[in-house]
Each structure stands twice: as C-alpha cells, then as structure tokens.
C-alpha cells in the first residue's frame, strides 16, 4: 500500500512493527505535499526540517524499544489558527503573517505527546471566517477533486490535505461548520466534537462560545483514534469539561435497535438532488442494519439558525479580534498618533470578510441595539438548544446534509456573502446547540465531486456518532484519495 492511501492507524502500526520507518512515512508525506502544493495551496507553512528530525528521533526511539505513542511517527497537519511554539501561526491573515507564538496549543502538545509528527500548518479563511478558503492572505486553496472548485472552509487546507493524501489526519476548527462543510466538499470525514470536549487553549479565537477543534481523516476509526488523543480535560480552558473522557476507538456501538432521525426541514427543496439522495441512501443503509428511521422536525433551526449565528459569532469576534492593534505583536503600521496607528494597522491587517464581521459584531453589541440583536439571538440560541433536546427524545442521532450542495466554483460566491453564509445552513445550528456533528463522505456525484452527509448526536454522544458513522462507512466504503497522479 502507498503511504498516501494509508490511515493514521495503519501508518502507526507499520512503524511500530518495523514494516517501514517513521522517516519513510514522513518523507513520503512531504514529497506528496511538495508535488501537489503548486496546484492546491493547502499548506501555509511546511515544517520539513522539524518533521524529518522528529521522524529520525521516532526511529531511534523504536530502535531502543521505547513506546512510540498511539500516533507514533504519523505525519499530521494542523490548521494555522492553532498555536505552535516558535512556528508562525498566521490564521490566514496579514495581521499575523510573521507571528511566532511563545507557546503551543493544548491540542498540539497532546498530538506531539502521542508521537504524531507535525509536517505543516494548513491554509484557512482568515481567522476562520469563511466557507471557501478563498479569504486567506496566503491565496485560495483548491479542491483536490477539481482544482477550479473551492475546498470549503474555513478548514479548507486541512480538508484538502487529508483528501489529497498529504497526511492521514489533520485538525481543523469548527465555529459554524468549518470542519464539516470542507470535509464534505473534499470527500473526507470530519468531526466537530461537543463544545468543551477538546481544549481551546491555543486556538486563536473567532467566536469563543462556538469554536471547537476536531479531527479530519479518511476513516471513522482514525477520527476516534484522534479523539482519544486530543479530547482531554484542561484546567487552562475554563470551558473545557473536567471529567475524564471515555475511550473512543475500539468497538463501536451497534446501530441495531437505535433510532435515526431524518430532519423534515433539511430535505427536499433548496438542496442539491444528489445530496438529498445521499441522505436517503444513508438512511436506507442504516435501516438495513437494524436502525429505525424516524422523521424529526426542527422548525426553528433552519429558519433562525443562520441569523442567530451571524449575530452571536460576529459579536464575539469583534471583541476577540480587538487585540490586534499593532502594540504588542503582529502587523504594525506606524502613524503619528495612537488612534491613527490602530486604524492604519487594522485597515492593512484584516481582509474584507473579517472587517465585515467586526463591523456587524460591533453594531449588534452597541448600546441601543444590544437587546434587539445580541440578547434576542441569545434567546433564540436557547430555543434551538431545547428544540434539539426535544428531537433527541425521539431519535438517537439525526441524519441530514452537511452542506446544501457539493463544492462550488472558485469566485462563485466570494462577492455574495449571504449566499456564502447559506452554505453553512445545516452546520451552524449544531454549533449553537453545542452538539457533536460529523460530516462523512458516502459517495460521489455524477461529475465526480464528493457527496457528504451529516450525523448529529446529543451532547457527549460521540461514541454513538462513531457507531452510526462506521455502519455507514461499512456500506459505502472508506473515502478515496483525491488526485493521485492527475494533479501535477
């Protein structure tokens, strides 16, 4: 088997058993990256030197008989909004283009402790704001299935890198669908865990109450393996749950006798027919495995989710991004006085989508508008949470599309923010309700583009989610690697 087709588990086991070395695996990863990057631009910073060094350390550890960890020698990529000590962390922004954090994110520490080897930092929409990875100061990323199309976003770089086989496993962050929508567009699996399951420490904040880190991979088992590594209590993130996590990998719970809910409002009109078909097919194949299919209604989620999200997320973002003032770090534009320095720095450092959201967020928090927008949206968020809770009285998981259409063309929506926002229609409510959601590849459209569906479980229902996902994966097979040979 070729390295780029292997899963993380296969790679780790091959190294552990001595079938191949960590250095070979990492070299293969870097080679593939080098070959395909000109076409894809999925990676902002390649860490060739560090990675090869770490790989040699792993190999000598193995020679000494030391434990390599569950991801020993596995090349991985993390989205460039996760802090890496002394390695630039750009958030896809001119503002942080040269910023090297003095500390690593908790997830990066956990990955390194598990033996994983960081080979690169992936491209993203600036500060994770976008659904196409076109809003990056480092240029757009291409979809490895069709380089004229977007990979989705904002974790488009991570999704493209996994789809193209640079690495078997990458981390993304998901505030309104930023793991799941690109996973669906690129034909890989992506999990947004329950809010608070994975530490956000070191994740550069977009919207703190919605942001969550999660894995992207080409197998359900790899997602579970990754969760075993990154889902851990962290006293340095007050919103991170303190209880120990269960073991996610291993035997997944059976779907037989469980209920899968099809969301009435998330089907039919306005959804690409092939995606609608993929959802029905998934339901049928779960039914075949003994699950009961029930119809569920989420009357408000589809209608109110989007406006609610586009009030709360920009509100928090306007505050989170206020620190980029040129005083301490990052881009600084000199000006004769303080206010001019702030203005010049922020004008030059942020792209148009980030500015749009800062303005929106500042507006909805302003005195006189707070009650009508921010407070109302908070109340709507509570309503949506209760609506999901009610739905989970009737179903163990919900099945719905991950996005209304397969990957769209580059440039198609970049000047139409509202339609761009609409591509996250089915993912946003899941963040608002703090639920775990997984996008998974179940097949391909007639034109060859990947088709994705989404599974959603109650809070902390990741294990149930993995059970349903692995049943679907058995039916449809693991995702293929994109562009092998075709891209140069």
């Amino acid at each position: 088997m070729k390295f780029h087709e292997m899963t993380a588990r296969e790679t780790a086991e091959g190294i552990k058993k001595g079938v191949f070395s960590a250095s070979e695996a990492v070299k293969a990863s870097l080679d593939r990256m080098k070959r395909m990057e000109p076409a894809l631009n999925a990676v902002v910073t390649s860490l060739e030197e560090n990675a090869l060094e770490r790989a040699m350390e792993t190999d000598s550890k193995r020679a000494r008989g030391d434990d390599l960890g569950p991801l020993g020698g596995v090349p991985v990529i993390v989205k460039d909004n996760m802090c890496t000590r002394n390695i630039r962390t750009t958030c896809g922004s001119r503002m942080l283009a040269q910023w090297k954090p003095p500390y690593s994110a908790t997830v990066v520490e956990l990955l390194e402790a598990s033996g994983a080897i960081l080979v690169g930092k992936s491209n993203m929409d600036e500060f994770a704001m976008g659904s196409s990875t076109e809003h990056s100061a480092f240029g757009p990323t291409s979809n490895p299935w069709d380089t004229d199309r977007v990979p989705g976003g904002s974790s488009g770089g991570s999704a493209a890198a996994v789809a193209a086989g640079y690495v078997p496993l990458a981390l993304g962050s998901d505030t309104g669908g930023s793991i799941r929508q690109p996973a669906a567009f690129c034909g890989v699996h992506g999990l947004k865990p329950t809010y608070g399951l994975v530490s956000r420490r070191g994740l550069v904040a977009f919207a703190s109450s919605l942001d969550q880190i999660g894995p992207l991979a080409r197998s359900v088992d790899d997602l579970a393996l990754a969760m075993d590594v990154i889902a851990a209590p962290d006293s340095r993130d007050s919103t991170c749950f303190r209880d120990p996590r269960p073991l996610y990998s291993g035997a997944f719970p059976d779907v037989a006798g469980k209920r899968v809910g099809l969301v009435r409002e998330f089907g039919g009109d306005g959804i690409d027919a092939e995606i609608d078909g993929a959802v029905s097919e998934a339901a049928a194949s779960l039914e075949k495995r003994g699950a009961e299919v029930v119809e569920i209604s989420l009357p408000n989620a589809g209608v109110a989710g989007l406006p609610c999200y586009y009030i709360l997320a920009p509100a928090e973002a306007s505050s989170n991004l206020a620190r980029y003032d040129g005083v301490r770090y990052g881009l600084k534009k000199d000006a004769p006085d303080l206010i001019s320095q702030f203005l010049a720095t922020r004008k030059a450092g942020f792209g148009p989508e980030v500015k749009r959201r800062i303005l929106t967020g500042t507006f909805v928090l302003s005195s006189g508008y707070y009650d009508a927008y921010y407070l109302l949206a908070q109340n709507v968020r509570r309503v949506l949470r209760m609506e999901f809770e009610k739905a989970f009285e009737k179903a163990d998981v919900l099945l719905m599309p991950a996005a209304p259409s397969p990957a769209f063309r580059k440039g198609e929506l970049v000047d139409d923010p509202i339609r761009m926002y609409m591509t996250d229609l089915f993912t946003l409510p899941v963040n608002l309700a703090e639920l775990p959601g997984m996008a998974m590849n179940t097949g391909y459209a007639k034109n060859g583009l990947p088709l994705g569906v989404q599974l959603v479980a109650p809070r902390f229902g990741e294990k149930v989610l993995f059970g349903f996902a692995s049943a679907l994966e058995e039916a449809s097979g693991r995702p293929s690697v994109a562009g092998g040979g075709e891209l140069s």
Binding site: C91, W99, S208, S235, S238, E316, A322, R328, S366
Partner: protein
C-alpha cells in the same frame, strides 16, 4: 441660587486584592519595582489563543470583603467583557462584571460630625487591572512625549470594585468612608490599601441638589492619589459647581482629572467620544457558582471587624473613644492591645504605651508589627514593672529601645542598657539629689520661698534626677528626698 444646595457624593473604590498570583493566570502580582514586563505570560499579555482561568483565592477574598460590608453574595455570578481600545489593555477588553456582580446591597457605618451614619454599598464586583503606560518625556507626562512604553506586569492583578450609594454629604465624610473601607480590607488581610502606590484607588461622583430636590448633573473625578487629594478635589469641585450654578450656568456631566500639583480638577474633554463599552457576557468563563458552604466557611473565619472591636474595647476595657479608634485602626495593633490586657497589663497603660512607644517605633523603623523582635508577653512584663513602680517610664522606654533593637528579653535588655530597677537608692540617691540641687540652687530658692504652688518646679527637679539616674531610681523615693530637702510636703 447656590443657597440651599446639598452636596451628594458617591464613591467607586478599586481595591487591589493581595493574592500571590493574578486573577486569570499564575503570574506574580508583585509588580512594584519589578523589571518591566517580567511578570507576564500569554494569558495576561492577551496573546492570541490564550484563555483566562479564574483564581479561586481572588473569589474567596472578594467574598470575605463583601461579607464584611454586609452584602448579599450572588449564588451565580458572571464576568462580562468591557470593550475599549487602549495600549495598556492587552486584549482590548477588560474582563469585569456588569449586571450580575459578585455581591450587592451592603452598608457600613461611618462617624460624622453629626454622629454615626450608614453609607450604602451598591455592589462589589471583580475585574482585572490593566498595564501601565510609561511616557518617554523627561517630566513623565504625555504632553511632549515622543513615544510611550507599556509595562504589563500589573495587567491581570485582581481588583475588587466597591461602589457606594450617593450617601455622603461632605468631603470629610467621603474621606471617612474611604478610611473605613481601607481599614476593613486591611483587617481581612486582602489588601494593603495603599492609595499612594495605587493599591486602593478612588473615583468620586459628585453633584449638587437643589432645595427643591432637583438632582444636578454628576461629575466624575479621577486621579486622587491620597486621602488629602480626595478631600481637596471634592472641595474644589463643590466650589466650582456652586460657582457655576450661582452664575446661572449648568453643570456639565463629565469626567475630570485631579491635578495634585496645581490643586484643580481638569475636564478630560472627552464628551464627544462618549464610551460605549459594548458589555457582553465573557464566553471564556462559565457562570461561577458560589456555594452556600463556601460563603459560610468564609463568613465563619472572618476576624472581628474594626467597628465592633472598637465598641467592645470601649465597653470592656473602658478606653476612651479616641483611644479605641487608634487601637482598632489596624488589626495587628488591636490584637496586640488585647494581648497585653489579657497578659495583665492595665488597659490605660497598654493603650498609652501603644499610642506612644509602639507606634513611634513602628513608624520610625518601618518594621511590620508581625515581624517585631519583641513579644506581647515581654512587653506585658515591662509594663507590669512600670505599674508596680519598679521601673520609671523613662527607664521602660530605654529598655524597650534595647528590646526592639536587639530582640532581648526584658531582663537582658535592662542589663544591656546598664539599668537595674531601683538601682540607685538610699544614700547614693540622696547624694545625687544634693548635687542636682546645688546646680539648680535658684530653682530650689524659689520653691522654698513658696513660688511653686502647682508643684511644677519640683517635678522639673524630679525629672532631672530621673534623667541623671537613667530611670533607675524609684520615682517615689526620689520625690520624697526632694520634698524633704526643699522643705515642702
């Protein structure tokens, strides 16, 4: 117009809580004199990706203060973000509290010219301190500085903000209120309350109300770095507002900065940029639940508060109100006083000794009483010797000086100072008295001719004797010999 105007003052006091680490990270709070930007980390620098973790000690200190102020503690409380741009604010928002503060509805009693009065406490909430700007002009001011530097050592130091009701009517009352708040904070050991160094900061809101009860515009005054500055600034502002009103003008609602050097409160001229802080709940910190158990635990370990202790000293030990005020001013002093009395000292003597020798020693040496080299028991022994006439006050003072310098026991300190109780007596003392009388024959003559009706001259001579013997004579014996020689009874 200015007749019948009533002054209304409300105060906001920021008390720096004296925890070892900052409110949201593990960095040291010890910023005074530290190398700039040495006590900082990603959290208090607000680096991208950093998150706050509330310090439990800070919560406990604030609960203690709130309980001492008679506040009700909120069972759940949340932090808010207060958003504004300034270089000393690393995240461009301050984590503070807004509509669900830690505690509300308290009060304290203060002494005023018209007797005791109750001042309401609206709320007590927690927040983080900001860094400090250092302007690079020779006089340290912004004007003329060509650049500024920021020191973030102070960023994230915990603050409790205590907001009073507008219950004070004079600058003196405002001062008294601050003194009481500071005293309570010191009693609880949660802050040193030092205004000069900024660990206690006071902002004042002041307005004048018309005889018809109409409320005037509120002016906020900042930058008062001492009690004296507070009083002066308030007096200045009352005069200014009266003048404006008596000239038929209206008082503008604004913020003024007190300038201690020129004794004026200058308008900040920032009306047009009325701040909209865009408060919203801090999403990085979940709701804080303060358990009944925690509140009871803190409440039961509160020390006796100064006001109660003062009343008890007056009633139990018969000390005057003035003495009681001084004795309860600081907790450690009050505890010393009580220790001396419990060890058998006469309350009045113990009080006099504390107000005289002890406070002078502490002031001059700068020693913290808790680190003093002498014990309560030793001082009680010393005062006992004065009570019994074994030692004069003068000798006791010398012995105390020796004890304070060397940390010796009373006995050893006496030996070290060459003092033995009653060491000069009988013939030796009589000879010494005669020598002193010979040197002061003019005084002796005046006494003998009846010119010392009040006995002051005799006392003067007795003082010389005691000084000459370095307090080693029994004062009664010395007086007896003197009276005999002078022929008075």
């Amino acid at each position: 117009m200015s007749r019948g105007l009533q002054t209304v003052i409300g105060l906001e006091i920021h008390v720096q809580l004296d925890t070892r680490s900052k409110i949201f990270c593990g960095c040291s709070t010890d910023y005074i004199g530290a190398v700039p930007n040495s006590n900082v980390c990603p959290v208090c620098l607000g680096l991208p990706g950093s998150l706050p973790s509330p310090n439990e000690k800070v919560i406990r200190y604030a609960v203690a203060m709130a309980l001492a102020l008679g506040c009700s503690i909120s069972e759940t409380t949340i932090f808010h973000r207060k958003n504004y741009f300034y270089p000393d604010l690393p995240k461009a928002y301050q984590i503070s509290q807004y509509d669900r503060p830690l505690a509300v509805n308290g009060s304290i009693e203060i002494e005023t010219g018209d007797g005791p009065r109750t001042i309401g406490i609206t709320r007590l909430h927690l927040e983080e301190d900001a860094g400090k700007l250092v302007h690079a002009a020779s006089d340290g001011r912004l004007a003329g500085a060509d650049h500024s530097m920021v020191d973030y050592n102070r960023a994230g130091v915990p603050l409790a903000e205590i907001v009073s009701e507008p219950d004070m009517k004079t600058p003196a009352e405002a001062r008294e209120y601050v003194v009481r708040i500071r005293q309570i904070a010191r009693y609880l050991g949660i802050s040193d309350g030092d205004m000069e160094s900024g660990s206690l900061r006071v902002d004042a809101n002041i307005s004048l109300t018309g005889p018809d009860g109409s409320l005037g515009s509120k002016v906020e005054i900042k930058n008062m770095n001492s009690l004296r500055a507070l009083e002066h600034a308030l007096e200045f502002e009352i005069r200014r507002q009266r003048e404006v009103l008596s000239n038929g003008g209206t008082v503008e609602q604004e913020t003024r900065h007190w300038d201690d050097a020129s004794c004026v409160a200058l308008s900040s001229r920032s009306k047009e940029e009325a701040h909209d802080y865009r408060y919203f709940p801090e999403p990085d910190i979940p709701e804080l639940h303060i358990s009944r158990h925690m509140i009871e635990d803190i409440g039961s370990s509160l020390p006796e508060l100064p006001f109660n202790r003062k009343k008890r000293f007056q009633s139990d030990f018969g000390v005057t109100e003035d003495d009681a005020n001084v004795l309860t001013e600081r907790r450690e002093i009050a505890e010393w006083f009580e220790g001396l009395v419990n060890a058998g000292s006469d309350p009045k003597r113990a009080s006099n000794w504390i107000r005289g020798d002890l406070l002078r020693y502490l002031r001059e040496s700068g020693v913290d009483l808790r680190d003093a080299p002498f014990s309560v028991a030793a001082i009680a022994e010393l005062l006992g010797m004065v009570d019994s006439g074994t030692l004069s006050n003068t000798a006791a003072r010398d012995v105390f000086t020796a004890m304070a310098e060397t940390g010796l026991s009373v006995e050893k300190a006496m030996a070290g100072a060459g003092i033995s109780a009653g060491g000069v007596s009988g013939k030796d003392l009589a000879a010494l008295v005669d020598r002193i009388l010979a040197d002061n024959s003019d005084v002796l003559e005046e006494i003998r001719s009846g010119g010392d009706a009040k006995g002051k001259k005799l006392k003067f001579l007795q003082g010389l004797v005691m000084r000459e013997t370095r307090g080693q004579a029994d004062p009664a014996e010395a007086a007896g010999i003197l009276r005999e020689r002078a022929g008075v009874r």
